[in-house]
Symmetry: C5
Subunit: 102 residues, 5 copies
């Protein structure tokens, strides 16, 4: 799975019927320091994520394994909102304190 | 999913029978500013997209989850036409006004 | 799907029984101008493509959706021979006239 | 499969119900010399791996083929802890002696 | 599929039960001239390949379509040993004579 920050939302009215009612998020992927990697993509939302939240993305056929995305043409899903991660015993990101090595 | 602009169409008469009658589009992928990333590919059309429209691409096995592409050798499908997206609360692309930070 | 030119053929006598009788092609991927991108791979042939022909490749699990490749360990298939494609209303490649912006 | 070193752990309380109780590991991928390649990702743990252990990652739909990850939105799983590997007849990594060409 | 040369073997004692008894190979991918591309990975062996042999790799879900790898967390399999390939009518690699344009 990849780390990402929700950047915004996307609207489409003419689309395959299978994605009616699904929320589409624009996200930017992050590295282990919480910095943007330069890659962006569009993901379906399975957990009610908001703009600026740091999330976990599942891609490929695994993106269809949530209740929201089952049997839909979905190759990327936001399936968790991240609280915190640590690297080599040190906290690198905390939802309420942000990322970085401060 | 990836953002892309429809660049043109492709014709093939000798092909696997499973793709008879499917429209093939040539597309160029876009970044969050609506600028081309330099990557291009061929996608099947599930929504009647026209040249120059900005669309959403599903890839991999997820590209076979539309009515049009089910059980076909399709690894990329245009499954939505994009109206608008916004990033950090600001509109970045609008179907009738185009993209960019103007 | 990706555009590619068939560069040659590959022979293997010791292989998984599931690929007995399948023709293996060496291909080089192309961009929208019909120029080689520098990437090459081996694909199974579902349409009787010959050396130098420009073809369409399906990859991933979608490569197993032709009659020839069903249930085989195939992650890339030549599933169509390209006649022509156009970009922004202008023909970029034609089977009998070649590619380029001439 | 890719070689990787477990760098740390990740915590999420708001997530798709299908991943309740799954341990999430932050990993960095390695080359054949046991050196980091610069790529990192989040993987589910199927074998009880600890921080600093060198492991084997399965990705894509194959990441859902362990007892722990079956039917979950998982695109990367730690499915083995590596004891040793050798290249051209020479040991390149040993669990208790580390990596490198020393 | 990708061309690769078998570089060595990998041993793991603590692993998901589904991969018990499977031989794990360390491989380096090759280009059409038989030169290494710099990419390496770990693949399961379905054909009894030995170190230094040039082989064909299937990746993704297609890597689970051999008898050896069925239903296992396998995203790369050695499914054929290459005898020879030719490019533009000229032999580029032969199992007993090696590669290159000599």
């Amino acid at each position: 799975m990849l780390l990402a920050r929700v950047a915004g939302t996307l609207v489409s009215t003419r689309k395959d019927p299978s994605i009616e009612g699904i929320k589409l998020l624009v996200v930017r992927t992050l590295d282990l320091d919480g910095e943007e990697t330069g890659q962006s993509l569009v993901a379906m939302d399975a957990v009610g994520a908001g703009v600026d939240e740091v999330v976990l993305l599942a891609q490929g056929s695994s993106a269809r394994q949530t209740r929201v995305t089952k049997d839909r043409p979905c190759d990327a899903v936001v399936m968790a909102i991240v609280d915190t991660w640590e690297v080599e015993g040190e906290e690198r990101f905390h939802k309420y304190r942000g990322g970085g090595r401060s």
